[in-house]
Symmetry: C2
Subunit: 555 residues, 2 copies
């Protein structure tokens, strides 16, 4: 039977654990189990090694997830049906057509220009004991299909089964950009270990998030080792060990790409750069000036001397050297929260502006164009925060991506500028909001972006609200964001998951999902995450999790 | 020099890591380090084994904390001073007077009646190389002093040092009750493991919290194995393994007592008892009735048939059997959120009320008196939630403790009843608030007790607001509370700490502390917790943590 997306969970004997929900899905009601000799075959000559590795990981999930159905009896009442079920002998992967130049690796497809990525696939799991078939036009699509396949199964008394065969899926993302932003500069004690980031990349891939927007450095610390600019991290990291070396970066981007994830690094400029003053004081205005609140939105103050020719060149060269560490198309130069008073009070900047006869905005334009030209010289496109087109509009290449963060109410104004948009609004997608303010001497102590952003709130966001049809095409997608003034390894998993998964489904499956239908599936995702070693946060008491719908407000 | 409590952190070369702040404290500015042969001696004949064990743990902390000073250079600029410092040869523990019957164990003193507990101590750490002295009138007081001693030290290049010798402390708690409430019934997946509870007990002891208020069971699950009533957990636990056996309970209460912590178990009655219907359906009205919101404040509905003689006896006997597992003076019978409609709709209850010619409130009175008499028969006193004296006032013994949870604005009304009070108000002390609502089909999704309760908010609570001087003596103290509909092992540490520590200081050191002075010390506590294996949450970026005051709103 063909069922509508949002009726699926109501029709099945247990909640249906696919997340994000495929955009085309039909399921049956026949039991099927993995055969004892079940195998995943790749019917592609000289299959790329990263696809082979992904198949191997998928087999591991099938063997180790051991997720019992989230119903009261955990599936026990289906024992006879499962025992009598036909066995699935195999899953066979193939490409619809082998490209002339041969099959590309998953990793190369993951970091290809965003408009060239093909993530769709078709997956057929027959109920009659014949083999399952996964087809796609790309290795990346096959990887997405493998991810879906791994979510079809429950465990009962040694059998790995589904009650929903036959399954026919024709799936592709509604939006090409589904991201997660991680700040590694503001954390307490130490930045996240490479293992923390890898675990997060794994979790991201399970819900088909395809972009890590990595806000690597900020005012507080500079943990990135950039060849030719190693003083930045030597003097600006929290400690000598608290850095990401070029070797770490290679390790991380390789790991990410093999999981279908592109990494967009960010070095925020010209604001949020106080720490650069430790190594290059000549390039920073108002470094650690007090009272900080007069010079910056958060301590410590300090901004690149954007009107200085030397600083413009330093910044462009440094960004280029940093960007060269990453394989992807995009690099974010930031551009948020530029403080005017910092430059007004900085004699050097005032002298530079006067001698060049430039306004602040003209200087920012020159500064930004130089940075972006340097990136373009090595094939990179720029990403910026919304101020670069609204508060401080500068000249930007047409392929620039603009991230809206201050408020979702700014989306329309950004769309009016004609640039492509990634939804990152604090009023929907900031995972750090609602845990109290972190500045000191603040007795009431509430968060600037209260309240906490629930998964339900993000899930019901409308990506094209108030946009014309033409403007809607500018929306590339969206992301959850974790700023880490109050986060670190101790709460990374529980703060991020499952909320970031809700946003991932919004931008893969498209808007219009309702929280009532989604909750049972999201429970399954939480339980599966835990089985795979990611400490996702509880959505409800276990009593509710095994009784889909029973804890609804209206039940 | 003698300094005021709240000026300490401003005067010292680094923040001063005592938490809670001793009520009498004088510090110097001389460096001192632990000698290479430093030892802790117990000058008490036949010292109790649990005190000997506490000394051993303290030595472990001194060796393993390795907490670097939270200043920019992590103490490096003090290297010469530390290298030249005198060595502390020893800490000697003694009792001011050995009781006639011999020295009591720490564990027995921890669970003694609350009015008999003596937690004060004096601690002198001379700067001249002579030995440190810890004295108290009780083994429990010595343990508190050991805890303080372990917080005096930083690590630098292999030296364990302070820059604040001589230290003279004369300390005792302002309030006798400093608690933490943990719910082990509503958690996702499984209740907390014994190891999770033990880790929490350790952390509690580090900040001199002396009571675990253990909300063991609730509507959703019954993980407590009660001798004679094993069907309750056999049919009501999430799984056969998801239980606390009598052996687990003994393990936990023994562990707690050895750390100066009494355990107050709670079996909430007559509401919040839906799960009892699995084993004893005859005792539960409106079990899992729908719509649940008409029968209970949270799903599933179900309340003990308080008007049934058989149920009254069952409840009293069961509570008595449960209470016998615990060594302490108090047992909580709950009494919150009784739903009138549940009883109105229950034919059995209506028939019982009619035949006995009782009102609901009269029946509740009979029910409660029977339960409390059963507890009293084995030497226990009762704890109840505020409804038992406000919404549904029943007959209670004078020694009953009332916990205010609905709102701090109810404290005055409870004080008017003359019962002793433990502050537990949701608007200050609920650690679970502000993470979104957990009921399903609730798109806006905000928490009923928004916003998140920041440590600053709890820390600035006034325990005697609006009370007369006489009423103020009714306040035994207060506690943080963690209800776990959205919590589990994955976020226990980061949700609880350091916020529960802020509340612990409020009730040990007394009100009036200010958040600006407290923040640097609380940072130290967070860093020390992490060194000891508790994943306390970050308060600020590390950049701020090593620059006390610099990230203040007004800095």
């Amino acid at each position: 039977m063909k069922v509508s997306l949002f009726a699926v969970s109501a029709l099945l004997p247990s909640a249906f654990a696919l997340w994000p929900l495929p955009t085309g899905l039909s399921v049956g009601t026949t039991a099927l189990r993995l055969g004892k000799t079940f195998d995943i075959k790749i019917s592609i000559p000289n299959a790329p090694a990263d696809l082979v590795a992904a198949v191997s990981r998928t087999k591991g999930f099938l063997a180790n997830d051991k997720l019992e159905a989230l119903v009261i009896d955990r599936g026990a009442s289906s024992a006879k049906v499962v025992a009598a079920a036909k066995s699935l002998p195999s899953l066979t992967l193939s490409l619809v057509a082998i490209p002339a130049g041969g099959c590309k690796s998953l990793s190369s497809e993951a970091v290809a220009p965003i408009e060239d990525r093909v993530e769709g696939y078709t997956l057929t799991v027959p109920a009659d004991g014949s083999g399952a078939v996964l087809k796609a036009n790309s290795t990346l699509g096959l990887f997405r299909g493998l991810t879906t396949f791994s979510q079809l199964w429950y465990e009962l008394e040694g059998s790995t089964y589904t009650l929903s065969a036959p399954v026919k899926i024709s799936d592709a993302p509604v939006y090409p950009y589904r991201g997660f932003m991680l700040d590694t500069a503001g954390t307490s004690t130490a930045p996240f270990a490479v293992s923390d980031i890898k675990r997060t990349l794994d979790a991201m891939s399970w819900v088909k998030i395809n972009t890590l927007h990595w806000h690597i450095v900020d005012s507080q610390s500079f943990p990135l080792v950039i060849p030719g600019y190693t003083e930045l991290s030597a003097k600006g990291a929290y400690s000598a060990a608290a850095v990401y070396t070029p070797s770490d970066i290679k390790d991380i981007v390789t790991y990410a790409a093999a999981r279908g994830i592109d990494v967009i690094p960010e070095i925020d400029t010209p604001g949020h750069t106080s720490v650069i003053s430790k190594a290059f004081p000549e390039h920073i205005a108002c470094a650690e000036a007090t009272p900080w609140a007069s010079f910056a939105n958060e301590p410590p103050a300090g901004q690149l001397r954007l009107a200085s020719e030397a600083t413009v060149k330093f910044t462009a060269d440094m960004l280029k050297a940093a960007a060269a560490l990453f394989p992807g198309q995009f690099f974010s130069t930031g551009g948020d929260e530029i403080n005017a008073n910092c430059y007004t009070q900085d004699n050097a900047t005032q002298a530079s502006l006067a001698s060049s006869n430039q306004t602040f905005l003209q200087a920012l334009d020159t500064f930004t164009q130089a940075s972006h030209a340097a990136l373009r010289s090595i094939g990179k496109s720029a990403v910026v925060w919304e101020e670069m087109v609204l508060a401080n509009p500068v000249t930007l290449a047409n392929d620039t991506i603009v991230m809206v963060w201050i408020s979702s109410s700014d989306v329309q104004a950004v769309a009016d500028t004609g640039f492509r948009i990634v939804h990152s609004a604090s009023d929907y997608f900031y995972l750090d909001c609602g845990h109290g303010g972190w500045v000191g001497d603040f007795p009431t102590g509430n968060s600037w972006c209260d309240p906490f952003k629930t998964w339900q709130h993000a899930y019901t966001f409308d990506p094209v609200a108030n946009l014309t049809a033409a403007q809607s095409t500018l929306v590339l997608g969206g992301q959850s964001l974790l700023w880490t003034e109050q986060s670190g390894p101790e709460n990374l998993d529980s703060t991020t998951w499952p909320r970031a998964a809700a946003t991932a489904e919004l931008f893969w499956s498209g808007p219009g999902g309702d929280v009532q239908a989604a909750l049972p599936r999201l429970h399954e995702e939480v339980y599966r995450f835990r089985q795979r070693g990611v400490a996702a946060n509880a959505l409800q008491p276990h009593w509710c999790a095994v009784r889909p719908g029973v804890c609804d407000l209206t039940a």
